[in-house]
Amino acid sequence: MNVIETNNLTKTYNDSEVEVHAVQGIDLKIEEGEFTAIVGPSGCGKTTFLNMVGGLDQPTSGTVRVGDTYVNELKSSELIDFRLHNIGFVFQAYNLIPVLTARENVEFIMQLQGKDKKEREQRASNLLTEVGLGDRINSRPSRLSGGQQQRVAVARALASKPKFVLADEPTANLDSKSTETLLDMMEKLNKEENITFIFSTHDMRVVNKARRVIKLEDGKIISDERKS
């Protein structure tokens, strides 16, 4: 079953004097439970593509369908609500709220969803334990390493029970050991809980773990490989 389907997805920036064709007519289907890496050199359109799939950017033309919803047709306020309930985000710079503890960071998104306190606390503790931070739930981000912060970010992304997780360069700021730990943890969640992960990356360690690798160049798909 397709979780995401894009049709002739195009994004052109007209901000400068020269038009920039960031994404040019991408047709793509991603199924539930995939562990997919979108790779390519800087400026190839990875992040722009992910932003349109995640409803953070509007396409110039084409469609993005998530489940039964055409994301490109949603209004701004509907998009916010859609993201809250359907998509988990993991960012390159972790982007945790520095004044909150690890558990509070994970709980925050559930509070935005209106979940009650008991449920929030229970799920946040479980998720943090699952990502190997059961003993650091009351630590603030400044007391955690980069790898630990990114694991909190993954727990936060999963807290809202999303249809899929978009991870934009999640390992770019991590050392080898942290990268390995993070990828093993995400692969485990993918295999055991059938969570769909889509990465944008040019990190070969991520590419090696991915079961599907989509290569972009100049905003177009130049290859789409599935590993057995």
């Binding site: 982007n95 709980e107 925050f108």
Partner: protein, 406 residues
């Protein structure tokens, strides 16, 4: 959790927050203490005007206040005073015979207002007897005693027991006069009053004027509480339709104006302070929003809607304003309490104030109502100051905000 995040965000940049908090606290303290100082000053002036000059209510012949002619006296003033004194909510009454005359000493002379009073009754109404600084209140002199103000005594170069002559036009229109001897010298906070008002006994003055001892130009009424003034005035107007019944606010409009303009002055002063502070708060919050562009982008990306982002910035700004405001109010209350008993001596500049009837020692007074008003004003300031930074935050595009390198 938004409240908790907002609260913690206030302390995220401690130095910056403390600087603006100090500015808010200092501004509010200045406003609060300024108000308590002027409030104390005004209340003392009003109290002095009632207890020394006007009492709560006065009755006169119609037209007397506009044209105070000696012949416009009330024949049965004593009877009216006694009748009113027996009524509910009336603490005391007295009647006075008033003439405009000349007072002469061996060295100089000047125009004065001469009040013929019953010393015993008068001390139930005014605090003249408490204001005697030399000699005694109508004591020690058996024949024609007079009590005069300190300023006037200095001007006439007279002391206690000195002789002086008071002359005025009597009932027949002829100049009449007599020699009086100073029994006491008084001093109030009102230099003008002290310089122009002398007190003699009704029996002496009325006899010289040629009027019955029971006649007087005004009947003064002191009530058990100033709140009763409107009701009692209304009742007395109905009872004495031939007389002018006026309350102290009508008798001393310049003092009444103090009462009515005090709150307005305080609000204007406070609004000016808050307007100055609002720019500092906006600047602080704009910096906070700018520094957190990426974080706000993240929050909007994961699904925090605009209303919640707006609320978070709003609550943070209100917290910042209220903390500073409450510290400033607390400082204002503390300093007011410190000086409420000891008073603030402004004698070095009190010559000018004395001419306007103000005391040289001011006892600051702060009312609960005004404290509540300041808290509300600070709260509103916080909300107003939050609007622009919050709108700035709302205008962020999540995708662009996430790309920013802060």
């Amino acid at each position: 959790m938004i409240l908790s995040v907002s609260w913690r965000n206030v302390w995220r940049s401690k130095t910056r927050s403390l600087v603006i908090l100090f500015a808010i606290a200092l501004g509010i303290f200045t406003g609060v203490f300024n108000y308590s100082f002027y409030n104390g000053m005004a209340l003392q002036r009003i109290d002095s005007a009632i207890s020394t000059e006007a009492s709560h209510i006065q009755l006169h012949r119609k037209g007397y206040l506009e044209n105070p002619e000696e012949k416009a006296f009330i024949k049965d003033a004593e009877q009216i005073a006694l009748a009113i004194e027996s009524e509910d909510s009336v603490k005391a009454t007295c009647y006075r015979f008033i003439v405009q005359g000349m007072i002469q000493s061996p060295t100089t002379s000047t125009g004065v207002k001469v009040l013929g009073v019953n010393p015993e009754k008068e001390q139930n109404i005014t605090n003249l007897h408490d204001k005697i600084i030399d000699g005694a209140y109508f004591e020690g002199i058996s024949r024609n005693p007079v009590v005069i103000g300190k300023k006037l005594a200095e001007k006439l170069k007279l002391k206690v027991r000195s002789k002086l002559v008071i002359s005025f036009a009597d009932a027949s229109g002829y100049i009449s006069g007599a020699s009086f001897r100073i029994a006491g010298i008084y001093e109030t906070s009102n230099n003008v009053y002290d310089n122009s008002t002398v007190f003699v006994r009704t029996e002496d003055l009325n006899q010289l004027y040629g009027a019955d001892i029971k006649a007087g130009h005004e009947v003064a009424v002191l009530l058990s509480h100033s709140d009763y003034v409107p009701i009692k005035q209304h009742e007395l107007k109905a009872q004495y339709v031939d007389l002018d019944v006026k309350e102290w606010r009508e008798l001393l409009p310049q003092v009444s104006m103090l009462e009515s303009s005090l709150d307005i002055s305080m609000y204007i002063f406070m609004i000016i302070i808050l307007l100055a502070l609002i720019f500092g708060i906006i600047n602080t919050m704009l910096m906070a929003v700018l520094e957190r562009t990426k974080e706000l982008g993240m929050l909007m990306s994961i699904g925090m809607n605009k209303a919640k982002v707006f609320k978070m910035i709003m609550v943070e700004t209100v917290f910042l304003s209220l903390i500073g405001g409450l510290v400033g109010i607390a400082m204002g209350i503390a300093v007011t309490l410190i000086f409420a008993n000891s008073g603030i001596d402004i004698s070095s500049v009190s010559e000018g104030f004395g001419a306007m009837g103000y005391d040289s020692i001011i006892y600051p007074v702060l009312l609960v109502k005004n404290v509540v008003d300041v808290v509300v004003m600070v709260f509103i300031t916080g909300i107003l100051a939050a609007i622009y930074p919050a709108i700035k935050a709302l205008k962020l595009n999540p995708a662009e905000a996430l790309r920013m390198n802060m």
